[in-house]
Symmetry: C2
Subunit: 215 residues, 2 copies
DNA sequence: ATATATTAATCAATCGTTTGATTAAATTTG
DNA sequence: CAAATTTAATCAAACGATTGATTAATATAT
């Protein structure tokens, strides 16, 4: 009967992640979270100290196994800059689709004015991603592989923005695309490959020099 | 001394728009809103019935003078499809930058699961925009002006997404771009022209056929 | 038996909303 | 026009409900 060896603490984090993503931090009460998780309300404070502590723990769990993922791509010596961009997009979309509840929470926290430890943590997390991606783009310019008048910051914003529009505003994207973009089956079979392919084509058209592009 | 002829009701809406955009709907208390607006708390319910009614009134004010703006571009007979896209981007970015507080509120409401009249209103508002833009893109494909393998829905998501990433996640964009993207001066002088120019170049590279592109 | 985990009950604070009274403005009446 | 009456606007105070958090007691496990 030991169906799960996952800690109860982890179970709470899973549920909290989903509830936060659906109602937002302020909209999700501790009673709702504990109720959905099937645990006593006091357990939240027992494990995480406070509601904000719960949100903080939620972030720490995800960010712990994240850095090395992207880091490796940029430092690879045997790849062209375009290959790096392509790999980066692939890895980024992969990560987004593998835990989209967490992505929604991040997205919501970015949209409101917050201060404190958590806000700094989120900022750091995003900015490391930004810097790493931008480095690849600058390298591509120096190598002459990319056009030299590209707006690197905007390119970064494009990848993040398209992802946010599709994954985070799921109600709209479902109507736009004609199927439930929240359904896990659709996400893997239809949405994920479509977004990945589109982003690659889009960036290829914008980034590459005419010479490379015509090949 | 008649500095403002704006109704007090309108003043409350202005303040509420800002406070909602900063704290989110659930995070903004009626006490905070009424306090910032310098009016008694009961005035909110007197004018708008409820907190949700306030949010609703806020949306109705903005959507009333919105439809005709975009509508005219798509139906213009004397413009090429690319000109239409270009004009659309210009008009869209213009609108976004002219009332970015409202845009933030919309953005936040899209990110949480809500039901009821307001949710439907927001969905309608966005989808009308989506449909109108998509129509232009399809027309461009039929005319042979655009590539025939472009992903029209993703193109729409790109324009919306880039805007959201820059305007709504202002904390990140400020760090990325190196200046305060909330400062009205910067918005008009730097941010707005930069986003507009970038989106045009990006879409031009992706949409146009090689023939048109090489001109 | 000691430490850890879990519970029901309760806390003060804050939430959105309502109330009843008061003032200002507009309308009706004489 | 002036007095009387109605309507609209505004306020301080309080409402019940819900919030996040804490307690003290109990159960479980080592």
């Amino acid at each position: 009967m030991e169906k799960e060896k996952t800690d109860k603490r982890d179970h709470i984090l899973d549920v909290a992640e989903r509830v936060f993503s659906e109602h937002g931090f302020d909209g999700a009460s501790t009673r709702l979270i504990s109720g959905e998780a099937g645990v006593n309300m006091a357990m939240l404070n027992y494990y995480f100290g406070s509601k904000e502590g719960l949100l903080l723990s939620l972030f720490e769990r995800r960010t712990s196994t994240f850095h090395s993922l992207i880091q490796g791509i940029g430092n690879n010596e045997n790849m062209s800059s375009w290959q790096k961009v392509s790999e980066y997009v692939e890895a980024y979309i992969n990560r987004v689709f593998s835990n989209n509840c967490f992505q929604k929470v991040v997205h919501q926290e970015l949209a409101v004015r917050r201060t404190g430890e958590l806000a700094d943590k989120i900022t750091d997390m995003i900015m490391q991603n930004v810097i790493e991606f931008r480095k690849i783009l600058h390298e591509g310019i120096e190598r002459g592989e990319f056009k030299n008048d590209i707006d690197t910051e905007m390119v970064v914003a494009t990848v993040f923005g398209v992802k946010a529009q599709i994954v985070n505003a799921s109600h709209i994207s479902s109507l736009m695309l004609g199927y439930d973009t929240q359904d896990p089956q659709n996400m893997v079979d239809k949405l994920k490959p479509r977004v990945t392919e589109y982003l690659k084509k889009l960036l290829k058209a914008y980034l590459l020099t005419e010479h490379d592009n015509a090949k």
